[in-house]
Amino acid sequence: MSTTSARTSYDLERIRGDFPLLSSTMRGNPLVYLDNGATALKPDPVIDAEVAYLRDISANIHRGVYELSERATVLFDQARDKVKRFIGAPSDGEAVFTKSATEATNMVAFGWGRKALGPGDEILTTELEHHANLIPWQELARQTGAQLRFVELGEGGVVTAEAVAAALTARTRIVAITGMSNVTGFMPPVTEISRLAHDRGAVVLVDGAQLVSHHPVNVAELDVDFLAFSGHKMCGPTGVGVLYGRRALLDAMDPLLYGGDMIVRVYRDHADYRGAPERFETGTPNISGVIALGAAVDYLEEIGMEAIARHEEQLLEYALGRLDGVEGITLYGPRGVRRGGIVSFNLGQVHTHDVGSVLDNEGIAVRTGFHCAQPFMRHLGIHGTVRASFYLYNTRDDVDRLVEALGRVREVFG
């Protein structure tokens, strides 16, 4: 296996050893996992952290004065600190644990938006968005009478600062934009967009579900007001996400959920609420998940997000080169711009699911369909794509296996 690339700064073979699934098979063939855009595989340290809590602690947080509860609380709080450090959260920023990136965008849409928006106000977004960063805004617009507007997309689904500038108006209250497209890997120029938006007095939310797992992110440098992302896409467990936000904005927001642990005092007919993050974390949280997310952050940091991004960049380049040579292929997404390690394509008229099934039978896991991005599919004039998405453990060999298997698709579907 050509698993070692001269330009990957970490020991790819060793890293692969951390992921139990990478030595397994699928439908009788060695697994090639290229569906990292949907979710990442979990390395041993993350699995171990989850088990350590379940086996050796098990207790609830914040509520008990006994040692087990104390240990749970300490680990939980440490995980928050790790996450904040990982995204470069400034001291006036806070990280709220959610169940997913989806919950995080919704928290802002409804907790912030219902208070901040009125008829005639504008929400600016793009047709590139994952449904998680689109439908909440549609619904908010419906509820408040605000208007949902879209940045004009360039060739291959590019969003430029100029296009954002042209779409911003005096009524724009928020710019809700992806940090990295889950269909093409395209990465909008977030820092410039933030500056433009802030100049207009608008708030910026970045959907970082793809960005944060694959690239170094510093919210202070990006100068964003909110950042939403998911643990499971960054080698963490399922059921935990993060909403980063500026404390002043968070403290002024309504929560989506009401209950225990978010309160200062409760009377029969009303209650006083705490500030962030507690106000947004009512109910017993996903304690094992949060702790394991902390372990995922440790794991990624030890390898280094710079190194991971570089590795994926090289793999993408290699993949684009090889796929360009596949007969009958249509590749989507822009060339020659910053892109994360995602390729979307179609093979002639073969339905994406059929491509997916043939690849599955060769041991190759890809994602097929509309990728929770129907407006973007409509923009491209297609029903779906086959998507291969890379992560720190993928190799050139994986790409070769993919290309080879696409030959099988042509055999079956002629």
Partner: protein
């Protein structure tokens, strides 16, 4: 498992490529849309009837080979059937795909045996069933009487 035996048998691919039933039928006609939200497959099923007898059936839409092949077989199979026979056929196909049954198919519907292999791929079962679930709802309308396509 063998892909060619289970999922992509020649009969399936032939039915997938067939254009015979891929068209709209003109009013008055019973029609019903079927969508698989998780994969985006989306078909429109058309049905003409003379009383309780199905006189013509066709479909339009997008879907994977399994979805389209299944819909094509469906149209071939039910033409000329009584609505009750068609309903029984829906149940037999479902039995084959979800209850591990090996049904006998009536004459003219033998092709349907070819989709039995889909049962080995749980996430593809809904592809094969889309048209049949749509037919089930449509048959209720046929029993009701007036084609909705009329309005």
């Amino acid at each position: 498992m063998n892909l060619d035996d289970d999922l992509y048998r020649e009969i399936i691919l032939d039915n997938y490529k067939s254009t015979r039933n891929r068209r709209a039928l003109e009013s008055p006609v019973f029609k019903q849309e079927g969508v698989n939200p998780s994969c985006g497959d989306d078909i429109e099923l058309y049905l003409k009837s003379d009383g309780d007898e199905i006189t013509d059936a066709s479909f339009e839409g997008v879907g994977c080979s399994i979805c389209i092949a299944s819909a094509n077989m469906l149209c071939n199979a039910i033409k000329g059937m009584h609505v009750d026979e068609a309903e029984a056929l829906v149940d037999r196909v479902k039995g084959m795909l979800t209850r591990d049954e090996t049904p006998e198919f009536p004459e003219g519907a033998e092709d349907l045996e070819a989709i039995q292999g889909v049962a080995k791929y749980p996430v593809r079962i809904k592809c094969a069933l889309l048209s049949w679930n749509t037919l089930h709802r449509l048959l209720e309308e046929v029993r009701g009487g007036t084609p909705a396509g009329d309005t």
